[in-house]
């Protein structure tokens, strides 16, 4: 990351009027990302934002970088092609919970397992915003929406668990309202080599207002927000009086006074096993109670496009850069000598 302040937020704004509903959490995330990009100082032209369809997916129009507002659910696939073709670019995917985990679920999990260098930001508002309020794969059971007037009967995904089940090398969660935290997570995602999955709790004030009140409400957030910090004990509560232990694979919340500080889990995002991260992800399924935010997991694994580049490099080192004429002839040839050529019809 360069440090010179080449850019300001304005450099990343476009002339397009931002058209989210007033009060939408997407505005806050946009501001965080634009500021982050300005601070990051990466050449603007090397940055590409790819999105699917949804309110969140409007994002590229508002970023003065290269951008592609694609089709519903397919952003990870398209971005994969982009990143594999041009590893030197910084490729970001912006997606909603429906875009990434409903129609786009397959592309998401495959991009994660391949560890392609994509930064995948999922604005999870637990609703379909753009199509005006149907439940999404992250909506809680029983939720009444236009398409579930009797209450949703679909058990929701836990995006962090899903990503961990799909072999993601970097998994984090943050909240639209907390711009400092969002920025920190963006920075770590950027620095990670490979796919980074970032779930951002995002308030849709029109169709699912206050879904994240447990983490943003004045009264609740102190009780519920569990900050995961690499290398530190997992403590939370107004006086850090509560903590998380992981016991036989199950994470549980305890009073530090009862359990003793030594028993409290020390968070290691780089642990080779994804087990602890997964255990932490099970603490809440919602979030309707104590919920961890921060980087769950950040481990090294070969990056798809780098390995591909290496294969190209190795093949060239071994076989040279390739001669097409030679290749075509390689299956065996024969020569017809010059003679009184008949006119043969060309293969049209």
């Amino acid at each position: 990351m360069t440090t010179e302040a080449r850019y300001t937020r304005a450099d990343f704004q476009t002339d397009q009027e931002v058209r989210w509903c007033p009060g939408c959490g997407d505005y806050t995330i946009l501001a965080s990302v634009q500021n982050f990009m300005a601070d990051l100082g990466v050449d603007r032209e090397k940055i590409v934002f790819v999105s699917g369809i949804g309110c969140a997916a409007r994002f590229p129009y508002y970023m003065n970088t290269y951008g592609l507002h694609a089709i519903h659910g397919r952003a990870p696939a398209i971005a994969s092609g982009l990143a594999v073709a041009r590893p030197e670019l910084s490729v970001w995917v912006v997606s909603g919970d429906g875009d990434s985990m409903s129609i786009g679920g397959n592309h998401l999990i495959h991009a994660l397992r391949r560890n392609i260098n994509l930064k995948i930001l999922v604005f999870n508002n637990q609703i379909y915003g753009l199509t005006k309020g149907q439940y999404s794969p992250t909506s809680e059971m029983g939720k009444r929406t236009k398409s579930s007037p009797a209450g949703s009967i679909d058990f929701p995904f836990n995006p962090v668990s899903l990503a961990l089940g799909a072999e993601a090398t970097f998994v984090a969660r943050t909240i639209d309202m907390d711009r400092t935290h969002t920025t920190e997570i963006l920075k770590q995602a950027y620095q990670h080599r490979g796919s980074a999955f970032v779930e951002i709790y995002q308030n849709c004030n029109v169709f699912n207002d206050k879904a994240f009140a447990a983490l943003t409400g004045k009264d609740e957030r102190d009780q519920n927000r569990i900050n995961l910090v690499h290398g530190e004990k997992v403590l939370f509560g107004p006086d850090r009086e509560r903590g998380v232990i992981i016991d036989g694979g199950t994470a549980r919340i305890v009073d530090v006074a009862d359990a003793g500080i030594d028993a409290i889990h020390t968070h290691d995002a780089t642990a080779p096993s994804a087990g602890p991260a997964y255990a932490l992800s099970r603490l809440s399924h919602g979030p309707f109670g104590p919920t961890p935010v921060g980087v769950f997991r950040a481990v090294d694994r070969p990056v798809y496009e780098e390995t591909l580049q290496q294969q190209i490099h190795d093949a060239q080192a071994k076989r040279g850069p390739g001669d097409l004429a030679e290749l075509i002839a390689s299956a065996g040839t024969w020569t017809v000598p010059d003679h009184d050529e008949r006119e043969l019809p060309a293969h049209s």
């Binding site: 092609g81 850069p321 299956a331 017809v336 008949r342």
Partner: protein, 618 residues
Amino acid sequence: MSEAPTIDNQEAEQVHAVAIRFAGDSGDGMQLAGARFTDASAIFGNDLSTLANFPAEIRAPAGTLPGVSSFQVHIADRDILTPGDQPDVLVAMNPAALKANIADLAPAGIIIVNTDAFDERNLTRAGYATSPIEDGSLDAYRVLKVPMEDLTKRALEGSGVKGRDALRSKNFFAVGLMTWMFQRPLEPTLEWIASKFAKEPDIKAANELAFRAGFNLGETTEMFRHTYRVEPARLPAGTYTNVTGNQALAWGIMAAGQAARLPVFYASYPITPASDILHELARHRNFGVRTFQAEDEIAAAGAALGASFAGHLGVTGTSGPGLALKSETISLALMTELPLLIIDVQRGGPSTGLPTKTEQADLLMAMYGRHGESPLPIVAISTPADAFEAVIEAARIAIKYMTPVILLSDGYIGTSTEPWRLPDLAALPDISVPFAIAPNGPEATFLPYLRDAKTQARPWAVPGTPGLEHRLGGLEKDGTGNVSYAPDNHERMTLLREGKVKGIAADIPDVLVDADEGAEVLVLGWGSSYGAILAGVRRVRAAGKKVARIHLRHLNPFPANLGAVLAGYRRILVPELNRGQLVRMVRSEFLVDAISYPKVQGQPFKAAEIEAKLLEII
């Protein structure tokens, strides 16, 4: 032996053409046998055409009808166009192979049977109550009975290779026998064995021994005193190789990348009969070719499109079911006006259909299989070797006009072979189009939808280019690229997209009519029926009739002169391996009463079918 030879002298009899089918169980190595015989014939200098017939997708138990695999090769001393309507010679390694293929054999054709396989068990498996080689049911043919397994085993005695392993060489025994019978040179096959099995000396020795044993049996036995000679063909001078369509296509993609000065990015999800394109390209990392085996066809199209946006030659190949899945993404390519090459190696449909069989029934899907008004150019391949040029042409259009292009191949083209005169790579057309590198709008802005006055193409500005940052997307946009829902704008943009594709007609060659003076009937073909149609037309001409012929490479837009040409004929016949798709396009476009000649049997046309139909209507 299109004119079946009479087998009555001991000298090598000269024939102009002969079609031989090697048939056996999937485990018998018939594809390999056919390929060896083909190569030897090619090197000898014949023109040739081959057709492989694999069992359908599941490996059936040995000895059963569904397990039969065959390879037909047509060799000739003149240019030929098809693998032959009916084989003149059938090599049948077991009863199932005989049963599955006998109906195709030419009247009075030759059958060489591996008698060792005609035991009770195999007969039952093939559904024969009595042995056809004993019960007289083959009396109409000339049957040559050879205990190939026994002879192979004996030939290998002392070689160290024994039992079941020894039996594996029986395909080379069969090749040896055919090599003698048709007077092919031995060297190509021996050389191939030597290089292929260099690291497995036992197998090498075994195959050599079996091959020679087969050849020697011919030479020494009374039964094979008749041999046939097919002189080298008078092909245009040059160096040739024998290619399948999938191979030529893969190489053509690499050549297109070079001609366009773009790295190749090929994304695909395996599917018969297109997978071999992926396999071939994956082998060439040293050329810088990137292959991406995607999780499904949608992702493959998406990744290729992403690569196109990135400035690569984005290509995605598939077959019918996969093309259906790619529709929505192709529509995005069309709306964002990015070059994307989509290859459809058509197979029998609908649904999973006949995965290993050929058909031309995806044309209308290529034309109309997207929501909204979404025209795109369509190019078709005519023969295996033609794939090389066709794909370069398709890439040229995609890049020059910033549009997705669908290239239609089919299972027959993909898996059959023909000799191909090596292209002069130095003479490849330059199909490159410079990327945009500078602002094109007022106040140093970049307008991604500002069009080239001539081609109507928008500029291709790739990420990484400073100052040209822009956003593309699938929503309707105005001329500046900004989203617009304005009614007039939508109509304008729709017409622009349509006009851009229509305009390509001015940039492709007029159709050439291969016409007899005064012909009133015209055959209009496309795709893989090229060979059968031309061969059929030749026969009709040989019969003294007049006929004209057009074979289309460009199916959308049509060549500019097509309408005028068609207007000049009293009757237009459109043979297609579908239920009449091109004919619908032509009827609607030109209001000509073109007649459909449909065939949907998973098999290519035979020259005889075209001939008969033409004779019927001329």
